[in-house]
């Protein structure tokens, strides 16, 4: 199951990268914000790929990759990310106020990706700083 997740992630990431390269080669577009968003998506994919690989190795060694603590951390991080994601959207309002105009698809794209990164950072922080006392 987890092995197929790794293969699926690798396949999806490679398809995405190849698709993007072909699209930009044929269309000749070069919008730096779009390329930045695509870069972040690829980075997220690479992180996901690395995690899948680590989990696969753990399963091969007979270790558990998910338990009650990891689930609890995931849920808690999700809640905190939701709370703080409002500040991500607020950031775009400030950009508009300061005269930096973005297209709707750029705001939605980068907003979702930035929120994903926020989740990863919050989850990592909780995993290292866990203290329930």
């Amino acid at each position: 199951m987890k092995k197929s997740k790794f293969t699926l992630t690798l396949f999806t990431l490679m398809s995405f990268i190849i698709g993007v390269i072909i699209f930009y080669t044929l269309s000749g577009r070069s919008n730096p914000i779009e390329i930045g968003i695509i870069g972040l998506i690829v980075l997220l994919g690479v992180i996901q790929l690395y995690n899948s690989y680590k989990n696969q190795k753990k399963i091969e060694n007979g270790l558990t990759i998910s338990d009650e603590l990891s689930e609890s951390l995931k849920h808690r991080s999700g809640y905190i990310t939701f709370k703080y994601s409002f500040y991500v959207w607020l950031l775009y309002l400030y950009l508009e106020i300061f005269g930096i105009h973005l297209e709707v698809y750029q705001i939605v794209g980068s907003g979702v990706i930035l929120t994903s990164f926020l989740f990863l950072i919050i989850k990592k922080y909780h995993e290292t700083k866990l203290n329930e006392k």
């Binding site: 270790l63 558990t64 998910s66 603590l69 990891s70």
Partner: protein
């Protein structure tokens, strides 16, 4: 909530990884438990106690919770 997991584990000659396999959790969870940084569920507490052939009260100290 304090516990004696580390002491019991060392006495039983078990590594953190072996204990985690026996109770079906990640090794990181055992690390947090031994540092008293995580309060396990009743089911996990039971599984851990079962590994050491002790009751839950003998592994986990609930006294501090009532102070």
């Amino acid at each position: 909530m304090k516990n004696k997991i580390k002491l019991l584990r060392v006495e039983s000659n078990l590594t953190q990884e072996e204990l985690s396999k026996l109770v079906g959790v990640r090794r990181e969870t055992i690390v947090f438990l031994e540092k008293n940084q995580y309060n396990p569920s009743l089911l996990l507490s039971y599984k851990i106690s079962k590994v050491f052939n002790l009751s839950i009260e003998e592994v986990f100290d609930f006294e501090d919770e009532f102070k």
